[in-house]
Symmetry: C3
Subunit: 473 residues, 3 copies
């Protein structure tokens, strides 16, 4: 009983208050800071005339909107359904993913705006389609972190985690992309490494020694695994859009798509191979197929826009499939037992480790770039060697890429540890150990009694029938 009152999961006060207050804050801050950029403002007709732009199709909207929509699907359907694999946490997976992404993208527009695009003259942030993509990217970091604590936290904790996650993201992104001038279009470092370690650190701080009490809820059922494949496939299919969404117009987007497409195909084959090897009779494990097949996309986040060449992309995918699947088999149990990190979705194997690989691949590929391969102007465009950075060499660039990698790890680990401590306060309504991974805690579930009486009557009738027969014998 004491324990029960300690784990008070009543969120009728906290959840509505947080939602209302934060949403009102968003409205006020948007009113003060956020405006349409010149390509989405009705004055565009004048801008066009002034800049001698002859066609409406020269609006950034037409370069990026299809990719944006693919990324949007990844955030809401991809991440949401990937987490529905648990037998009784589909509502929480899809529903809380929906909630925190919706809050996070608003806060991201502000945070990223202040750091990246605050106009010094007007004090305003001007947003367009690229801002929306970046906001979705920023949210992705927090959704990755959600994977580590799936089923063990309350929606209020998730909102707090997202508030700080987006804030930390904007800062580390500013350091990595602007100060260090590292390149990271698909976010191997900025999104996946940061998000992965952020989630793992939080999960470490929130370690539950008695989590085995909800062991009965930790597995999947047949249909929940099928639902999760919807998430996997939409992430897998649209990852080329993710890695190309904000790369350079023209060949930049084109090349990032080809590289990611190839890398992911390669990952699938090695994931299947290792998964089959891991079982006595060569059977496949759905956990691996659902997750490790995506590791190649993570690992090509930095280098997707580089001239890594098609076979280079295949090689990255080849090793990521192996490493990620082995992570699920060997590293996850080790992390839980030794380091006390309970990682529900295995984000260490899908995001943290492949993200680090991606950072390293990016650093090496950048350091190995040459004018003979890229062309003089191509090299300048790809690494943005302009302005303050016009004299930077590719070797130096490789070094800064590696430095960026470290920044993202440090922000993830330290940030996660601090935020985890905040989330440990006994005020957030998180579930007791024996109620983890159960939608019952935060959702009105369909009336089961009704269901048994009505929707599956034939089973019962059949059983009744058998009972009679048994008794007749």
């Amino acid at each position: 009983d004491t324990d029960c009152s300690f784990r008070n999961t009543n969120i009728r006060l906290t959840l509505p208050v947080v939602c209302f207050v934060w949403q009102i804050a968003m409205i006020i801050l948007f009113g003060v800071f956020i405006r349409y950029d010149e390509e989405s403002d009705t004055h565009w007709v004048e801008t066009k005339a002034h800049d001698n732009i002859t066609s409406d199709i020269e609006n950034d909207f037409y370069f990026r909107y299809p990719s944006f929509q693919d990324v949007h699907v990844m955030i809401f359907v991809g991440f949401g359904f990937l987490m529905t694999f648990l037998k009784r946490y589909s509502f929480g997976a899809v529903g809380f993913n929906f909630l925190i992404a919706s809050f996070g993208l608003q806060w991201a527009l502000l945070m990223q705006g202040w750091f990246h695009s605050l106009d010094p003259q007007t004090g305003k942030i001007f947003i367009g389609v690229e801002s929306l993509i970046n906001a979705d990217f920023c949210v992705a970091g927090c959704l990755i972190a959600y994977g580590a604590v799936l089923g063990k936290v309350s929606p209020v904790q998730l909102l707090v985690m997202t508030l700080f996650g987006v804030t930390l993201f904007a800062v580390e992104e500013y350091i990595i992309l602007n100060l260090l001038h590292a390149r990271d279009a698909g976010g191997s470092m900025v999104i996946h490494t940061f998000g992965g370690y952020y989630g793992l650190a939080i999960s470490r701080v929130l370690y539950r020694p008695n989590l085995h009490q909800s062991k009965r809820m930790q597995g999947s059922v047949y249909h929940s695994d099928t639902f999760a494949m919807i998430g996997t496939l939409f992430l897998w299919m649209f990852w080329p859009s993710f890695n190309s969404a904000i790369t350079d117009h023209g060949d930049g987007q084109h090349r990032a798509v080809i590289n990611t497409y190839l890398c992911l195909a390669s990952t699938v084959l090695t994931t299947v191979a290792i998964s089959s090897l891991s079982q006595k009779t060569g059977k496949l494990d759905m956990v691996h197929i659902q997750n490790s097949t995506l590791a190649g996309g993570v690992a090509l986040g930095t280098a997707a826009e580089f001239m890594i060449s098609p076979y280079g992309a295949l090689i990255v995918g080849f090793f990521c499939g192996i490493i990620s699947t082995m992570g699920y088999i060997f590293i996850s149990p080790f992390l839980e037992k030794t380091l006390k990190i309970q990682d529900t979705c295995g984000i260490h194997n899908l995001h943290a480790m492949p993200g680090v690989i991606g950072g390293i691949v990016g650093a090496i590929t950048a350091a190995a770039a040459s004018e003979s391969v890229y062309g003089k102007q191509g090299l300048i465009n790809t690494f943005d060697f302009t302005g303050d950075f016009k004299d930077r060499t590719v070797l130096t660039q490789g070094g800064y890429q590696a430095a960026g990698m470290c920044v993202s790890i440090v922000f993830g680990v330290v940030g996660g540890a601090i935020v985890g401590s905040i989330l440990k306060l006994p005020i957030w309504g998180d579930p007791a150990d024996e109620n983890c991974f159960d939608d019952e805690v935060y959702w009105e579930l369909p009336d089961e009694e009704e269901e048994h009486q009505e929707s599956i009557p034939p089973i019962l009738e059949y059983n009744n029938h058998m009972i009679h027969k048994q008794q007749d014998l």
Copy 2:
């Protein structure tokens, strides 16, 4: 027995006859009236030379096709899966949605063509990608209406409802957009208000006082709620495409996307807040998450292309989440009890009410438009103050917007009442009260006997085992 013959649900004659005859009629009418427009005709190469168009990408196809595909997904997967929440009506939800949308879009191309783009010289209707989008939009109105009568009507009734619905839609759309010259790119009035009241009026006329006889079938089960979230999310994610699909090239599409994206994010937070407040321990209700989170998209249908500003969009979403969720809690029971409107999916809360809000927001935003915000040319472009309407003021425009709002309500209510009376005739094969919400009536269901013996044997074996144990005691 008398009752049984009265509710004859045998549709083996009526359904095939309606499908065949109507489809043949479509072929004949398309043969007489429908032709490719100049951008989809092989003569495009000559048109390009004549109009001095230098690139193939200046074809409207490239401005609108990505949005069209998103809208197409909303119509078939979005609306279809949103309605799968009932425990045993998933086939009817997805399947009948598929059927009536497929018929409706053909009839819409004709009806909208006759009213909007019949070429007076040739007597032909020339269609392109924008026509396809408009046909999908028109169909959306009827699918909204389907939500009110879900589970209570036969597929033949749905086809009749769609035939008249599309017809009424084309007329009210012509009055609102062409005669009143109101703007309504995302269809708050034309699509959602009309469709909502059309469905509610039909449901009122078809009132079933004994519907409680099928109460056992009216709830959801765990997996059916998860399926419904697929519908919710695809509607939510692609709504920016819906509201921007037919707006002006360039900044018009760009701005409509930003506004809708923000508005919907805001709606999610207030929906969650109210849903949590409505339960004793703050638990969330899937009905609210599945539906009310979309209300912001509906309410921004008219104003999405206006300079409502980012914080304005957030405010609209803020209130729509509140109002729509409270609608599910308070208004729906009231409508059923007092006004005898049985609204299966709660379209009053998701479409009718938010649609009216959208019309009002549109009227106010239009009336408040100014040259200082829009720019001289921007104001003309946004409100299409050209030709006969070149001297119209924004205040007048606001008035006409409000008038358009009223037209859509009147068409919905009166049209629905008349069509409802037609659907009340005892010839359409609708189900008896005790068989509502049951796929069994119109679908060959998987053989349950087989299923119990084979696909869930472990349960039975387990039970058998227990039975033996019980008897041993």
Copy 3:
């Protein structure tokens, strides 16, 4: 026991070996042959300057990427989920589809590259977004064939089938498109007819006289049918992108979309009509709705880019819905009984037959083309009457279209017979007759014991309760 050792389904050696060796072979061959094309290479900036291209949007990426992503969804979610209808083969359906498509697209880039775009000077294959689409198309042929043997083969057999399938595809495609110079943008002949007969021939060679031993697993359950509708709808919605993905820029893509959109809508109505006619009380059959509604898209694969006119597209869809549904009712049982072809998904009715219809429609439409309808330049563009083929008449073109049709059938039947013989070798780990259609063979399934004890306890408790009550009586 002898039988059991004969049907050794242990694939722990073969599956990993095939995956690893083939993936390494891909990496080596890509290293030797595959390079970025000029539009995806960093030298694009120089190409642009050289060719006087003024805007980045004149990159083929922006013409084709949205269509590519739609096709990609069709391949992985469309084909994958369409096959989840079986009650216990969803993992195999989605998972093996994922595996063979990921391998197939790599091999297709090489095979199609060698036949279609090997640069004679450099000995390299240059790839861009159109190559990715073609690789996905090529894979589609093999996934169609998978439908015929679904549930009866091992993943190793599927990989072998894909290796040879892609190889045969590239050859027949070269003969049909390059040597015969037939047009087939949506692949009625090249993809669907070939893939259909390839799968049927393999299934014939692998005929299992005792397949009835797994009859209990051959049906669907309620939720598996709902999952399959996800596949159906994504195929149906994105088919316009499939048929237009590689057609000419501008009016070519625009027209192919309109034709396919209309054709598919028409198919839905006649499918419903015939399905309803086939049952005593007019009930609909999910098998028909899931499959036959797609036949119109198949049958318009060749003619989609022609001036078949909107009503022509409706007519094709009209007949395809009828023929395909009747195929499920009458022809499939006949094929199984008389010709010993066990066709799990009915690909004969969805791909083979509609593919042949599509080839014939294409031949007739081509032969009937005229300068008055197409315009002089339009006719040349549509049929590519340039270079060696500049003097070809439309009648001759019609003849070559028909010849292409025959080539695809011959390649399918003969190729399938040979590959089937290879797959008959007792080394591939295929399941015994009584274990067909069961994921248990190749997948680690969720622990059922756990599931019964925990996730559905109320049923058992309820039953227990009843048992007690029974015994009290």
